[in-house]
């Protein structure tokens, strides 16, 4: 074996640079070869524009995800508390969360394809700063794919994994946003440079040939990405945006389809309440720190003043549907029981399954005009799948907290 000339190298301050210089002479075959990727679309002008779009969708998903998190895990710190009005707010933020997540799927696929050749850069990193940056890019891609996949799977109730979706999706989102911030900092200069030029002129070399007629131009590739975003959005957004309902051919739930025209997340059978909910001995109890504990039959509830509220059921999975609910104000029940001001209410359901069997109402929500124990929807008694004999319905609140088959309101001070 012929002796290779020893490169005059010593492991200096930067071990990555030392290794990189040794690797330079050993370029692997295939995609690692120079010129292996010839498409003109693997380009920083295209990458920068798709990256900018992804920054918008990812930060929007993060912000709306936090809103949803704090709606379900209230901070109760003044201005950070979830407001009781407008009643449609959560419908908009959560609908946006899911729609932006879905729109991110084509954006991410196009973006990753644009930068795919960079995966085969040789040597993989030239110094320790580059190695750090590229490791975080790996984490960014992996976490982005993970968040979009797990979120999408959750919208259809597909859980192939062992972890708790909500908790894991929440913590992974912080990790994802962290590595995204690092990536934005690393690419800031390059992105600004690329965005300053029209997309067809981002070549570093003027002699680069113009696109032959008919091949996909960079502008065409961005157009295709936009068309893909449009296609995935139009076929799903009708799950929350009613005017597009007829187009929602690929949405997992559609307003109008379900008992009394409203989809459900958990049926009476799944909740194990098919017998208890229709039992004539059913009583609603108002208990806890009250002067007069109440036990009310359905007839007692109907004899109280009835109020109407036009409110959406908004599921964290991204669908929503409105209805006109009517029933008794929670506030009236609390007053009748002599509950003190300022307590919070634990709402308990008949359901057997543990998750979301109870929910909490803070003082502000419990005393809002539109917070009802609903008995009817759109003029009919509630379908058992919607929580017959009575369910909680309150403004600006995730669907999982709109407790169905309510049996107890427990006042805590």
């Amino acid at each position: 074996m012929p002796r290779r000339p020893q490169p005059p190298l010593k492991p200096g301050k930067d071990p990555v640079a030392f290794v990189a210089r040794r690797l330079e002479a050993h370029r692997p075959p295939g995609p690692f070869q120079e010129g292996a990727f010839t498409s003109r679309l693997h380009d920083e002008g295209v990458a920068a524009r798709l990256g900018l779009a992804l920054a918008v969708t990812f930060f929007t998903c993060f912000a709306t995800g936090l809103i949803s998190h704090f709606a379900q895990n209230p901070l109760d710190i003044g201005f950070l508390s979830t407001p009781v009005s407008p009643g449609w707010l959560y419908r908009v933020t959560q609908g946006t969360h899911v729609a932006m997540g879905i729109a991110s799927i084509p954006l991410l696929l196009f973006k990753l394809w644009t930068v795919y050749p960079l995966l085969f850069t040789w040597p993989p990193a030239k110094n320790v700063v580059q190695a750090t940056e590229r490791l975080f890019v790996g984490a960014l891609v992996a976490l982005a794919v993970f968040q979009l996949f797990s979120g999408l799977a959750n919208t259809v109730g597909w859980y192939p994994w062992e972890f708790n979706f909500v908790v894991t999706h929440f913590w992974a989102s912080w990790m994802l946003i962290g590595v995204l911030m690092i990536h934005i900092g690393a690419k800031m200069r390059q992105t600004r440079r690329a965005l300053a030029k029209p997309v067809e002129e981002t070549e570093a070399h003027a002699e680069s040939p113009p696109a032959p007629t008919g091949t996909l131009s960079r502008r065409g590739a961005l157009g295709a990405a936009a068309a893909a975003v449009g296609a995935v959005t139009l076929t799903t957004v009708g799950q929350t945006f009613r005017p597009f309902k007829e187009l929602a051919a690929l949405a997992p739930r559609v307003p109008g389809i379900g008992p009394q025209g409203i989809p459900i997340n958990r049926s009476a059978i799944s909740a194990g309440v098919t017998e208890t909910a229709i039992d004539a001995a059913f009583r609603l109890r108002v208990t806890g720190d009250v002067q007069t504990p109440l036990e009310l039959s359905i007839a007692d509830l109907r004899a109280m003043p009835q109020h109407e509220a036009d409110l959406p059921i908004t599921c964290v999975e991204g669908w929503s549907a409105s209805g006109v609910w009517s029933g008794v104000r929670v506030r009236d029940l609390l007053e009748r029981a002599g509950a003190p001001e300022g307590g919070e209410i634990i709402v308990r359901s008949l359901q057997m399954r543990k998750s979301f069997r109870t929910s909490e109402l803070n003082t502000i929500f419990a005393r809002a005009d539109d917070t009802l124990l609903a008995l009817d929807i759109n003029g009919e008694p509630l379908h058992i799948d919607h929580g017959f004999p009575c369910r909680l319905i309150a403004p600006n609140r995730p669907g999982v907290l709109q407790t169905k088959w309510v049996t107890t309101l427990e006042v805590r001070t």
């Binding site: 084509p106 030239k126 799977a153 109730g157 911030m181 900092g185 296609a231 076929t235 690929l250 989809p263």
Partner: protein, 157 residues
């Protein structure tokens, strides 16, 4: 090496530097660490050992399966299709491919439950076929119309 690849090489070998990089690294690193700590301290729910399979699995699924498949298909189309319609067909197929990827969960229908008929109410393979057919017909029509327009422009010159 053509100019395009040389360009790629030059911007890849750029080493991050400057205030934006360091600010991003410090703040982003802090946010990332916060998430990682939250993930690890809630390990009974987040099951990091199981989660990491999906995180790494997603990366491998993209980088080792999806992306090479796209490269191969794009390469074949470049060989098979006349230049005049190549770009339009590639764009049309790319749109279709992303729709298929997005539809995988509804096509599998794992969440379907006879007790909950309002979840996954449609025949999704049929719906996807219709949507893809519309996009294919529309994309091919636009591509042919553009090719014809360019041919007319070329002969008029």
């Amino acid at each position: 090496m053509n100019a395009q690849d040389e360009h790629l090489q030059t911007h890849e070998t750029e080493t991050p530097s400057g205030p934006a990089w360091w600010i991003g690294l410090i703040i982003g690193g802090g946010v990332f660490t916060f998430g990682l700590i939250g993930l690890m301290t809630n390990s009974s729910q987040t099951r990091p050992g199981n989660m990491v399979k999906y995180v790494v699995g997603g990366l491998i699924a993209h980088d080792a399966l999806v992306a090479p498949a796209v490269v191969i298909v794009a390469f074949l189309l470049t060989r098979l299709l006349p230049a005049a319609i190549r770009g339009g067909i590639q764009a049309t197929l790319a749109v279709c491919a992303t729709l298929v990827v997005m539809s995988i969960p509804v096509l599998r229908g794992d969440g379907r439950d006879p007790n909950e008929p309002s979840l996954l109410p449609y025949d999704y393979p049929r719906n996807l076929a219709i949507v893809l057919a519309i996009i294919l017909v529309g994309g091919i029509a636009l591509t042919l119309a553009r090719a014809a327009r360019q041919r007319r422009a070329a002969t008029a010159d």
